[in-house]
């Protein structure tokens, strides 16, 4: 075997390993979907049944009928969209100010904002709860949305992008007599569509998924989010794994759609923040 064929064979082996790794990463999801179509006895049967013998579609309506999952789904979507809108608007607004203007203490402002990356809700759980209670926002959409509506990550991501926009664009608009807010709204925003798309996808994903925060501030059935509903399902029917997997599979659908539709924006968002310092 000469050197060329040897490196060819090696290349194929590495590719096969990469594919095997991908299968390993996806296996839990495959098992979830497969189990969601099985009977309760079949899910724990040995030898393993990779595919259900005959798919039980009724697991889905039966699982979703146990709790008002439609309401939960709606609440999660409202929360994720509203938080996303806040992140896009306030994030890009602050980022524009930080990237293209000079004013005293600008660097300090930026650093103070960045430092809040180290203050996630998990750390500030108790005091944030108390603030939201003082504002009278417990058990309300406002309580779900407002504390999350501005996020340092979004500001950081947008600032990276806006810094690279040419100054001449902004100066030209200023000479044309555009107001400062007009410049932001009509010139800057349309020019950072890729970054906005990336932030939108990342933000929606993260907030559709919020669990701890709704868990702490929501007790009304009508305001519960989908993750809370799933956790509740687990608490009440922990033996019905086949139905739980059906409910979980439904909870996965918005994320998968989002990812498949906006894969590029998604990956770009992750990379925009990592690339530069």
């Amino acid at each position: 075997m000469n050197a060329k064929t040897r490196s060819r064979v090696l290349g194929w082996v590495v590719t096969l390993l990469t594919v095997a790794g991908a299968a390993f990463v996806l296996l839990p999801y495959f098992w979830m979907v497969s189990s969601s179509f099985k009977t309760q006895d079949a899910i724990f049967r040995l030898p393993l049944e990779w595919m259900p013998r005959e798919p039980r579609w009724q697991n889905y309506p039966s699982a979703l009928g146990r709790f008002p999952f439609g309401v939960y789904f709606f609440n999660s979507t409202v929360m994720a969209l509203a938080v996303m809108a806040g992140n896009l608007f306030f994030g890009s607004l602050a980022a524009y100010g930080l990237a293209k203007f000079r004013f005293p203490l600008r660097e300090l402002c930026f650093r103070a904002m960045l430092s809040t990356l180290m203050l996630p809700l998990e750390i500030l759980l108790v005091p944030t709860f108390l603030v939201v209670r003082q504002l009278g926002l417990l058990d309300s959409y406002g309580g779900l949305i407002v504390p999350l509506a501005v996020d340092a990550f979004g500001i950081f991501l947008m600032r990276q992008y806006i810094t690279d926009l040419p100054d001449s664009l902004i100066e030209a608009a200023r000479l044309d007599g555009c107001t400062e807010f007009g410049i932001y709204w009509r010139i800057v925003l349309p020019n950072c569509r890729p970054a906005l798309a990336a932030l939108a996808v990342l933000s929606f994903r993260e907030n559709w998924d919020q669990f701890l925060w709704p868990l702490v501030i929501i007790s009304k059935e009508a305001l519960k989010t989908f993750p809370l509903g799933l956790a509740q399902f687990e608490g009440f029917h922990s033996a019905s794994y086949h139905e739980m997997m059906a409910a979980a599979a439904v909870g996965m659908i918005p994320m998968i759609l989002l990812f498949l539709l906006f894969q590029r924006a998604f990956v770009r968002g992750l990379t925009l923040t990592g690339l530069k310092e």
Partner: protein
């Protein structure tokens, strides 16, 4: 000039005289405009980050159960934590979880990124397969893995085919935390591989070509081109992976409720339990302050180390 402003000489006499009373000079108007753009975000952070942070510090010196009014206890909450064996246990569990997840992530994610950066048939599809799980909900992950770790679940089913007996993954002290760590790694590696992949793709091809022409082998190219140029990416991955692992909450709550015997009670879960199950808000705030101190320390130490590495 990289910054967006034309340099206006503010101090010129005519600029001053030209300004009418109550009107701002051009440069000052821009300063104010810039500040106003940042102001809404600043106010939000003041209300939902800095004030709560101060509040947490303050509250950590009080006894407070949400209903009766707070009562000053000095360092009482910190002493209570110091004397609480469950807090010591939670610190240890968090440390083990955080390092157990983050350190494998650094290496496996870089390895995966190198694999995915190679030319191979169907690369787009393979990348998609690795990246798809990044989009999954935490709660779905928790439920699915609870099912997989079930005594009669898939993990034991697969082990049975190679003759390994049944293990009660989540209800044995020895295996519960490692089982959660495995999930953290499985979930984090693809995420950070995306970040590394972007870093790898930003390295100009000609560097490698030039090095090859000078006779550098694959290892030398990796050691002297890839590694040094990936430094900023590595810093990002190290800090983010540690911070992410430190705040893990959903899995311990849904899968083990911190058990068995507290072996998976990480610090965020301890805080949640102390505050919202036992209503000892002051003690929870004290524990939060300590967790924040640790996060800060980690981040600063890493910035120091990597900055020195860069110089």
């Amino acid at each position: 000039m990289s910054n967006g402003l034309p340099s206006v000489p503010v101090s010129l006499p005519q600029a001053r005289t030209a300004a009418r009373p109550f009107s701002l000079t051009y440069a000052n108007r821009l300063r104010v405009a810039g500040f106003l753009f940042v102001l809404p975000a600043l106010l939000h952070f003041a209300l939902f980050k800095f004030y709560p942070m101060a509040q947490a510090l303050l509250l950590s010196f009080f006894r407070y159960d949400l209903t009766s009014s707070p009562e000053f206890t000095g360092l009482g909450n910190y002493r209570a934590l110091y004397e609480n064996p469950l807090f010591h246990q939670a610190l240890g569990v968090s440390a083990k979880y955080t390092l157990g997840v983050a350190i494998p992530e650094w290496f496996l994610a870089l390895g995966l990124a190198l694999l995915l950066n190679r030319a191979m048939p169907g690369r787009g599809l393979i990348r998609l397969a690795y990246f798809l799980p990044i989009a999954m909900s935490q709660i779905v992950v928790a439920l699915v893995w609870k099912f997989l770790y079930h005594p009669h679940g898939l993990v034991n089913g697969l082990l049975a085919t190679v003759g390994i007996g049944r293990i009660n993954w989540l209800s044995e002290e020895a295996t519960a935390l490692p089982a959660l760590i495995a999930i953290g790694v499985w979930r984090g590696v693809p995420l950070f591989a995306v970040v590394y992949l972007a870093g790898l793709q930003a390295i100009p091809r000609d560097y490698y070509e030039a090095a090859s022409m000078d006779g550098a082998g694959p290892w030398q190219r990796f050691r002297w081109i890839t590694l040094p140029l990936l430094r900023p990416t590595m810093l990002f991955v190290m800090v983010m992976s540690l911070l992410m692992a430190m705040k893990v909450f959903t899995n311990p709550l849904v899968m083990t409720e911190g058990g068995p015997n507290g072996s998976t009670r990480v610090l965020p879960y301890f805080i949640y339990e102390t505050g919202f199950a036992f209503f000892r808000m002051g003690e929870a705030a004290a524990a939060s302050s300590i967790l924040f101190g640790l996060a800060l320390l980690f981040t600063l130490v890493q910035f120091r180390l990597l900055r020195r590495g860069l110089a």
